[in-house]
Symmetry: C2
Subunit: 372 residues, 2 copies
Amino acid sequence: MTGSNGRLRVDLGDRSYDIIVGDSLLASAGESIRTAAGNGRCWVVTDETVAGLYLDQVAASLSDSGFDVQSIILPPGESSKSFATVERIVNTVLDSGPERNSTLVALGGGVVGDVTGFAASIILRGVNFVQIPTTLLAQVDSSVGGKTGINTRHGKNLAGAFYQPRLVIADTGVLDTLPRRELLAGYAEIVKYGLIRDSGFFHWLERNGGAVIDGDRDARRYAVQASCTAKAAVVSEDERENGVRALLNFGHTFGHALEAETGFGAELLHGEAVSIGMVMAFELSEMMAFCPRTDVERVRQHFAVTGLPMTLPTAQGRRWDPATLIEHMGHDKKIRDGQVTFILARGIGDAFIARDIKPETVRRLLDGAVAA
Amino acid sequence: MTGSNGRLRVDLGDRSYDIIVGDSLLASAGESIRTAAGNGRCWVVTDETVAGLYLDQVAASLSDSGFDVQSIILPPGESSKSFATVERIVNTVLDSGPERNSTLVALGGGVVGDVTGFAASIILRGVNFVQIPTTLLAQVDSSVGGKTGINTRHGKNLAGAFYQPRLVIADTGVLDTLPRRELLAGYAEIVKYGLIRDSGFFHWLERNGGAVIDGDRDARRYAVQASCTAKAAVVSEDERENGVRALLNFGHTFGHALEAETGFGAELLHGEAVSIGMVMAFELSEMMAFCPRTDVERVRQHFAVTGLPMTLPTAQGRRWDPATLIEHMGHDKKIRDGQVTFILARGIGDAFIARDIKPETVRRLLDGAVAA
């Protein structure tokens, strides 16, 4: 697979779709979208940052393929994942009289993808949706699987829809313009796939993770493709997260609590929070005697070498309170019958769903993390 | 079937659900919902009018069955089908920390059902949804089939979701408190099922329509049950309206244009607009030599006897302009490749989808209708 562009399939019956992974795919985006979603009207939704870099190229490609293209440019950042933005996108599209075969293209990171997908799902009760993720995080995680949504004052992603795209175009070439901090945040989700179900891939990352981060094109393409393949397999098994899909939340229950505390902003990126959360999940797994210490150390070693964060950040004077973090977990949406779900690990590549964790145990772990 | 309560199934794979039709079902609503949707937290969404009549009874029944019940009371009327209302419902529910097995119950007419279903579809990307329709129109049409949504400044139902309820409870006893005008508006949708696919049912209505409208309990129950059965069959065949489901729009392309012109308000109720639209569809069908005049006259005769509206209302000084009506049709969301879809009939009980109607033909029909 290394060395060439690839196409993989997310198998979901009549909602199946392809993910194309490779270099320099933006130039042929129009043709790919025309094949996957037909022709007609097309809206490219992006943010100001990405618009400056790639909007012209994508819009030109769509125009060349016969689409009537308009663009909607959002302010960058998490605050665009709101009811107000969805309403703005919906009304802007409706202003021009869309039809059911019209297409919304999300060009950007997770925020753009989530809010655009949600808008696409509700316009005329569903128009075509295409993802062109431009961050590593979005390429390996949020653009695949059909979760769309917005934040409310209660928390992140608490309103939204399961809505599958018609196509995902992951152009690994665009990662060259990504700041290193965002690259690392995306890399955390790549490591996750190794940690939860694929010790062989984790081993590959131990050898090649540095190359992925430093910009080796073949390594990047392989890592993105392997991650999408892993996610596609899980999503095909369990589209609406009734079972195995919960494994993808590895590190996320802790991570979301950290993000809730820091306001889902630049102080702590999602991938950074997940990175710290995955280390916490391994520590908790060891504390409860599920996982040997050697595996926890091997994880810590890889995180240290690649530069993934492992400890609660205090640089900006942030003080952490275990009780508050536990309260944030209580607002996590993956709650059933009042029980917070944790994903723990028996070792590298062997995660499982645990619903019966005592709050005291979590408290003990957090006390340790705060003191560290 | 006449004479007893009944239960019928909408067959949609893992989204299948039951419709219960009968007298005095509100008293046992809690038990029925518990069986269909499990227990947990429950929000009853209703409007001020219905709240005064039935909220206490439904809330008590839910409480007795072990639900933790809260209520959300909306202003009555079409203006509640808005982004603002959805946001209000979503935030109110999120205020109390819902879980994925929480349930939203829509107690009311089509407006309450549509906006509550849409909110249920997006809270945590989907919580349980139950419909208790309290108007004849909602019982025989909008509560069955999973179309939810809101209006925007561009038109009706232009944003929403396909989201199936877990259960529909159609208590025909509540129709006793419904104003006669609303009863008739609902009756128009009952007649529709006969006109599009079931000449035998239309014949039954010719003999029993008066009894349905005047309040005969057995006749009402049978008419509601037959209508739900007809709609369930169509929806099971074609959930997302790619084919046969379009037949349910019989009379609606004209009807929506009339509603758009009158502002979707009390001047012309949805069912009244559909009633006029169905007569127009038959006249157009005859004009194009699809349908014999005898069938058109038989339809007109039944509408006249039961009091269904057939002509454009001018009582409030309204003046109708054919060109404006045609423009409204151009904004109908059931457009593909720029062509407005009409449902025409070869006769009573034999409707079909027609996409190639010339605007001049429609104009000629409307010129006649405006002059009438």
